[in-house]
Symmetry: none
DNA sequence: AGCGTTGTTGAGAGATGGCTGAGACAGGTG
DNA sequence: CACCTGTCTCAGCCATCTCTCAACAACGCT
């Protein structure tokens, strides 16, 4: 395991380094945001431990920039502050975990291990199919730049379809993924919602992203 | 997204359920470890939110047992205690993430999303015979790049033939593989569908992939 | 060649699957 | 309370698909 530690406090950095080396991991340490960004971009690490308070470029900026460069290495953020909003910000910017200082070293090790096991998410958070994009976190859907406003159910159906682009999914699959176990209605709801979605995301743009696969279900394809 | 929530405190469970439902996810709630284990094993969820303090079987035991049963659904553990050892134990037992109560609901959502983002099931392989390809997942058939649109029955017959390229299969085999057990009609249907398929996948391209083996049945061969 | 057997095909009746408009109902909001 | 939005049911319509039947063609055997 190769770990990059970005932490400007030399003492803290040394403590972390020792802990990780004791695990048998290879550790590189840098002390400012710029070097951290550069190393993380090109260094091929299994995880990055990133302090928030950094000279030259703070932790938030480093993650955001990393994700913008399509680097998906797991990032664990460290901070002295205890504000919950920091966590949110960190998550929204693309960090994968968060620790509040001071923390026992074995907690950091355990959670780093979990991060590494989870692996780098190959996919960015936004789903795309042709000119259609769906952001699960922001709860937005766009086609050619214009904002669409699906209802919650429509959104859920579309999200499922977009997680299976090009694959024919059955109405039962959709029902199963979107409606909960207590639902005992007809599969016709799915047909109805497909109809709603077509009116919402296809008709106004003259496309046909949702294909019917007779006897099977539906397939979402990438169109412009 | 289908989420299972295992939490014995009815109030807490309801809060979590609402948060997740507001995301457009399908949520099932159970209140004890045994039911949680049963549902998680067979329920096909995208993630499980699991309290540690549970009647009948605690959260640790549930994860351990789940992993022993080779169920790899991502698990997020919840606990009221703030003991660091809980985290370690949880990770070691196979949990994928961990939250200490109380937590802001959007943190839970963000981290659940991160958990779900990782695993996408890979598709089954595409079947090929010369210039003819059939993708069972996408439910598509192509010859030399152009999309063919077989009917469901035609597709089923073709899929069976393509899983047996170069092998002569009898009409009885095809009937058995494609039609259900209650079918009591004539083997002539098979002949009729072979005819349809030839018109669909061979005639327009001037090939002859489906050969008749007189007295035996049919054989699909690879041609360009 | 002649003949029975086996395979091919066109026509068409009936069944099925999918789409949609109308409307009931619930929950939230002014 | 009236109104709006979102969810879901229902029933009718339409296009397509499935399968049967029967005539016809091809094959292979004596």
């Amino acid at each position: 395991m190769r770990i990059l530690v970005v932490e400007d406090d030399r003492n803290a950095a040394e403590t972390v380094r020792r802990t990780l080396v004791a695990q048998g991991w290879a550790v590189d340490v840098v002390h400012d945001g710029d070097s951290g960004l550069a190393r993380a971009t090109h260094g091929d690490y299994h995880a990055v431990v990133l302090d928030i308070m950094l000279p030259r470029r703070n932790g938030y900026e480093v993650v955001r920039e990393l994700r913008e460069r399509e680097v998906w290495t797991p990032v664990m953020m460290l901070t002295a502050k205890d504000g919950e909003y920091d966590q949110i910000d960190a998550f929204d910017l693309g960090a994968d975990d968060y620790l509040v200082k001071p923390f026992p070293s074995h907690v950091m090790v355990a959670r780093l291990r979990a991060l590494i096991r989870r692996g780098a998410p190959e996919r960015p958070a936004v789903l795309t199919a042709g000119s259609l994009t769906l952001d699960p976190a922001a709860h937005t859907v766009r086609r050619r730049g214009t904002d669409l406003t699906p209802t919650p159910r429509e959104f859920a159906v579309l999200e499922f379809l977009m997680r299976n682009v090009g694959v024919a999914v059955s109405k039962a699959d959709i029902l199963h993924a979107v409606w909960d176990a207590h639902f005992d209605g007809d599969e016709n709801v799915v047909e109805v919602y497909i109809g709603y979605l077509r009116r919402r995301i296809d008709k106004p743009f003259g496309c046909a992203s949702i294909e019917t696969v007779r006897g099977v279900g539906y397939r979402l394809v990438a169109v412009d």
